[in-house]
Each structure stands twice: as structure tokens, then as C-alpha cells.
């Protein structure tokens, strides 16, 4: 067993210091930094788009709610038939409908703004 140990210690694989190896490593690290910077830029853009979408969605939702609240539909002046039924339905459930629509708009904005990729 001692012979094997001696053989291994005396025959270490020889590797010489190679400046080209470090140069290649440096080049790859620069590439990594470029990718990191691009990812950070894309993330920043995504975050800004997210905030804009959130604010816009909230503002539009609030505006729609305010409009429905302060200017209610006059059901008497509406034509009869299917259209009237639809308008009555809207009048009855306008507040209930506005919230899910606003929520949907916000969700869609969030989802779409997150679809950013690094080329």
C-alpha cells in the first residue's frame, strides 16, 4: 500500500500556469456581467411597467366606479325589450360588475407586463 501512496505522490499530474486560461476566464466573466446588467435592466423595466399598470388600473377602476355612482342610468328613458333588460341588469349590478372588470384589467396588465425576456 505504501508503494501505491508513493507512486501517487511522486506522479502528480503536471499542469503549468497558463495565462490564456485566465484570459479566457476573464472574457467569460465579462460576458456574465453583460448578461447580469441586461437582466437588471429588464427587471427595472418590468417593475416600472408593473407600477404604471397598477396605478392606471386603480385610477380607471375608481373613475368607472365614480361615474356609475354619480351618473346612474335612468331606466324609464330606455327602450323596451332585450336592450332594456340589459340596461336594467347593468343598472342593478353596476357596482358589482365594475370591481371584477377593474380587477381583471389590473391582473391582465400585471401578467402582460411581466412577459419580458432577455434576448
Amino acid at each position: 500500500m505504501k508503494e501505491i501512496e508513493k507512486f501517487l505522490r511522486e506522479n502528480k499530474p503536471q499542469v503549468k500556469d497558463d495565462p490564456a486560461f485566465i484570459l479566457e476566464a476573464r472574457r467569460r466573466m465579462e460576458q456574465v456581467e453583460g448578461i447580469k446588467a441586461e437582466v437588471d435592466r429588464q427587471r427595472g423595466r418590468g417593475r416600472r411597467a408593473l407600477i404604471v399598470a397598477l396605478v392606471a388600473g386603480l385610477a380607471l377602476g375608481m373613475a368607472a366606479s365614480a361615474l356609475a355612482f354619480f351618473y346612474p342610468v335612468n331606466a324609464v328613458s330606455v327602450d323596451e325589450g332585450l336592450w332594456q333588460s340589459f340596461r336594467l341588469f347593468l343598472q342593478e349590478y353596476k357596482l358589482l360588475l365594475i370591481y371584477p372588470i377593474a380587477a381583471l384589467a389590473i391582473t391582465l396588465s400585471l401578467v402582460l407586463s411581466r412577459k419580458t425576456t432577455v434576448q
Partner: protein, 157 residues
């Protein structure tokens, strides 16, 4: 860790790291250097998470070993690269070159863990504790793999 500091550390570890991978790759120097470069990129990307709980070299060797394992999983086992060993080492003399060929052939036949344990213990003079940290196994298991590796090499050399 800044890029320059990282490169300084790498410059110090270049030789041992490449020697370790060369032993793992059975003397295939281009493959060993490719894996070393990949390991450096991985290490650089993860350098923010290096907390200094272990030595930089131990951390780097662990990443390199994982890269080597990934490479083995991806690719089929290659033929023993006698030509590379011969061409790289012919300058050192025919006798030495022959011994290297013998050594690489024997190392190639060892299971990965035994090969890694042997390379770290005998070529890099690492302690059992460090080897355990690099190979992510208990110290007793490292000793077991070293013992098995030595016995296998004794039969082959």
C-alpha cells in the same frame, strides 16, 4: 466579491483546480480546462452567495466537482484519452509519460468518488475534512472511498 478580486483568487487556484480536473478527466486536458472554465463561470455567478464559511478553494473545488459530475451525467463515458496524455507529457521523458498513462488509465477505471478522493488527497494534499466538504460526504465515507481507491489502484498498477 469584485471581478478583480475573484480573478486574483482564481489565479492562485488555477493550477490545483486544473490538476484536480485533469485527474478526474483521465488526462484529457482540453476537457478538464473546459470544465474548469464552466466551474469558474458558475462560481462567479454565485460569488455573491460565498459567505467565507469555508476556504475559497474548497468552495471552488466543490463547484468544479459538481460541474464534472454534471458533465458525466450529460455525456457518455469517453474512450481513455491516451493520445492527449502522451502529447502533453512526452516532453517530460518517455518513462514519465508511460507512468502518467498508466496512472490515468487506472484512475479512469475508478468510480468517480474514489477518483476524486484519491486526486484530492494525494495530488492536492487536502485533509479528509476538506475532501468531505468538497465531495459533500461524511469524513468516514471519504476514508472508505480512499481505502477502496487505493486497493483498486494496487490491483491495477
Amino acid at each position: 466579491m469584485t471581478r478583480e478580486r475573484f480573478i486574483d483568487e482564481v489565479r492562485q487556484q488555477q493550477e490545483p483546480l486544473r490538476r484536480f480536473l485533469l485527474a478526474l478527466c483521465g488526462g484529457n486536458a482540453p476537457l478538464a480546462d473546459d470544465i474548469a472554465q464552466e466551474a469558474l463561470v458558475r462560481a462567479y455567478v454565485a460569488s455573491g452567495s460565498f459567505l467565507g464559511l469555508s476556504k475559497f478553494s474548497t468552495w471552488l473545488f466543490r463547484i468544479a466537482y459538481n460541474c464534472y459530475i454534471d458533465h458525466c451525467r450529460k455525456s457518455r463515458p469517453e474512450e481513455t484519452p491516451l493520445r492527449e496524455a502522451e502529447s502533453v507529457l512526452a516532453a517530460d521523458g518517455a518513462d514519465r509519460s508511460f507512468r502518467y498513462q498508466q496512472l490515468y488509465l487506472a484512475l479512469e477505471r475508478l468510480p468517480e468518488k474514489e477518483r476524486a478522493a484519491i486526486a484530492l488527497f494525494y495530488f492536492e494534499d487536502r485533509s479528509i475534512k476538506e475532501i468531505a466538504s468538497i465531495l459533500q460526504m461524511p469524513q468516514g465515507t471519504v476514508k472508505y472511498h480512499l481505502s477502496l481507491g487505493r486497493n483498486h489502484l494496487k490491483d491495477m498498477l
